[in-house]
């Protein structure tokens, strides 16, 4: 009985914790597949989180909040695309710049508008007839807010777009061999603009999932570095949406287990130093990364700006 509750609560916890990572990592997957590394995800998440929060704070309209996050995220993605594609700036540095920008601006705006963390009414948990009332399974899968489902729904959609559409083929080609794509009449810049902008939108949604769905509050540095984990998860997932989701779930599950460590200790009569428990998600992630990865999808042109030979 107690273990059932434990399992259910850990699994449900993991699904919730994974949600912002899934949004952000999927978005980053698109960008990286086309050859652009955006390290500014965390900054975009923060501004997206604030935009969504502020929209809901002022209007109470949740859809408006989602829209605000999406637009803000896409605008920042567009900025990143401009810097990395058009200006061909060093992607790592500009990403960090974008992060600091998002961190600072979200904090500033928050202080100028809302001032203190004030809870809002975010997305409620859905109650599905029959499903939500299922024992154990109901708690794990059918008692989350809407954005959780949106995040998970985006996984197959992203995989489909990448693998089964002409646009996805262009993305993969541009990330692997931009010269070849160019020679085939594909605009490398256009594809990269689209993926990075889209990735920005996803990062904005990741922020919204925190501020108006899971936590229903905003605070300075609300994401506390989740955007960076999201970037790592893209490598972890070897640039494949399903693997990225697997990585996010694995990382979140170990994190959720870590929160239950006391309960587990009591049940098993052992004592785990909490530092170990906290390191666990990272350790597990790194170890899996070492063993599981088959890196054939690695975009070889990642971080490399493209310029046709002609000067």
């Amino acid at each position: 009985m107690i273990t059932d509750i434990l399992k259910a609560s850990v699994a449900a916890s993991a699904i919730r914790l994974a949600t912002p990572y899934i949004f952000a990592s999927l978005g980053e997957t698109f960008g990286q597949r086309s050859g652009v590394l955006n390290l500014g995800v965390d900054g975009i998440m923060l501004l997206g989180a604030f935009a969504a929060y502020y929209a809901v704070f002022e209007t109470g309209n949740l859809l408006l909040g989602v829209l605000a996050a999406l637009i803000v995220g896409m605008l920042l993605g567009l900025a990143m695309a401009f810097i990395s594609v058009t200006l061909q700036a060093e992607q790592g540095i500009s990403g960090i710049g974008l992060y600091l920008f998002g961190l600072g601006l979200s904090e500033l705006l928050f202080q100028k508008t809302v001032v203190t963390p004030t809870p809002i009414d975010g997305f409620p948990r859905v109650n599905l007839p029959i499903l939500t009332d299922l024992p154990v399974l109901g708690e794990i899968f059918f008692h989350h807010n809407l954005l959780v489902y949106v995040a998970f729904a985006l996984v197959p959609i992203s995989a489909f777009v990448l693998n089964r559409t002409t646009f996805g083929l262009q993305i993969r080609a541009v990330g692997q061999n931009p010269e070849a794509a160019d020679a085939m009449g594909i605009s490398v810049a256009r594809v990269r603009y689209m993926t990075v902008t889209l990735g920005g939108g996803f990062a904005g949604l990741a922020g919204a999932s925190l501020s108006i769905a899971l936590l229903n509050i905003f605070q300075s540095n609300l994401t506390s570095g989740q955007g960076f984990i999201a970037v790592a998860l893209v490598y972890f997932g070897a640039w494949r949406p399903y693997w990225v989701m697997g990585g996010a779930l694995l990382f979140s599950t170990v994190n959720a287990l870590q929160l239950q460590v006391k309960t587990i200790e009591n049940a098993l009569g052992i004592n785990v130093p909490s530092e170990f428990a906290v390191m666990a998600p990272y350790v597990v992630t790194i170890i899996t990364l070492i063993f599981a990865s088959k890196r054939v999808e690695q975009p070889t042109a990642l971080t490399k700006p493209f310029e046709r030979g002609e000067s």
């Binding site: 916890s13 914790l17 061909q88 700036a89 904090e107 809870p119 229903n216 509050i217 605070q219 994190n255």
Partner: protein, 334 residues
């Protein structure tokens, strides 16, 4: 080639703008002759409803009291210690400030270095007791266990499930003191009650704090508390669940969830600060270490007026506060 380099400047400028924005200095109060000027660095946001805000609230209170004779500047979000070092050194070198406060135990090493370099400048830092033997350094700390004990007693009286959840950051400093005091308070009423403590090893991860609260609730907790700025996530969860009570710590967290917050232990650093200011004005630049207690009024249990606390429970709590102050109630921490 050259034009490429020029373009590179753009992200760099962006970066610099970004660096400047969050750590912007703030000045509150108008300038006047002969004012007592204070400068302070703090690790998190000045509105974090926790550690940093407790200092800002104190300075604002003093400002209101002293009016033109007082002025303060602060730099928030200075979680990078090196950035704090730059600000502190600048302030010390400017000779403009009568007192420079490093609000965060991580800044100790900087003060240890700065204090002998600027012997005419008075420094204060916390939370800690160490003045490094310098006579221009004050140290301050909070006896957080006291309010923790009171909160613990109330929590024990209010729980029905006999399971209480605590969300902590890292097991150090005043967070640890508070949690240990809280546990002692619960045990003082009923040692059978289970207090599940979860240190999430982060001061900032709101999402993890919120899941920690979910876990506590799943394990049957109906009363919770926590320390540090990431607990807003936990309060949110408690509020959403509806029937889980919350005890605040460091700042008054009532406004986060008026329906479920019972009481808060609030830090009033102004009690200590006023003493320090008086000392500095009298010419003593440091050498003493201070502590907030229930007795000196630095720690105050602020009840949530909106919560219908029974007369009996309130009576017990007040009696416990009095008992701690006059020494009739003593307890040992783990």
């Amino acid at each position: 080639m050259l034009s490429r380099k020029k373009w590179l400047l753009l992200p760099l400028i962006l970066l610099m703008v970004a660096l400047v924005v969050p750590m912007q200095g703030h000045t509150r109060s108008a300038k006047a002759q002969d004012t007592f000027k204070v400068a302070v660095v703090m690790p998190s946001a000045s509105n974090d409803l926790a550690f940093s805000q407790s200092m800002i609230d104190a300075l604002t209170a003093i400002d209101e009291e002293m009016g033109d004779g007082f002025e303060f500047v602060f730099q928030e979000n200075t979680f990078v210690v090196d950035d704090a070092a730059i600000a502190l050194r600048e302030w010390a070198a400017s000779g403009e400030y009568s007192l420079i406060i490093a609000h965060g135990s991580q800044y100790g090493a900087i003060l240890e270095e700065l204090a002998p370099e600027f012997p005419d400048v008075s420094f204060a830092w916390g939370t800690d007791v160490d003045t490094f033997g310098y006579d221009n350094v004050y140290a301050y700390e909070a006896g957080s266990d006291q309010g923790g004990f009171v909160n613990g007693v109330l929590a024990a009286l209010l729980t029905n499930s006999n399971v209480i959840g605590v969300v902590g950051p890292i097991e150090v400093g005043d967070a640890k003191l508070y949690v240990d005091g809280f546990k002692a308070g619960v045990a003082w009423v009923n040692p059978e009650i289970a207090v599940n403590v979860n240190y999430i090893q982060s001061f900032s991860d709101v999402a993890l704090a919120s899941e920690a609260a979910q876990a506590h609730i799943a394990n049957g907790a109906d009363v919770m508390t926590g320390s540090a700025q990431m607990v807003v996530g936990a309060v949110g969860v408690a509020k959403e669940t509806g029937n889980v009570l919350w005890f605040g710590q460091q700042s008054n967290q009532t406004e986060l969830a008026p329906e479920i917050v019972v009481a808060n232990q609030v830090y009033h650093w102004e009690v200590v600060l006023k003493e320090i200011i008086a000392q500095v004005q009298a010419g003593t630049l440091g050498g003493t270490s201070y502590k907030l207690t229930l007795e000196n009024g630095g720690l105050v249990i602020e009840y949530n007026e909106a919560y219908a606390l029974s007369a009996f429970d309130k009576f017990v709590a007040d009696a416990v506060i009095q008992g701690i102050i006059d020494g009739t109630i003593t307890y040992t921490l783990e």
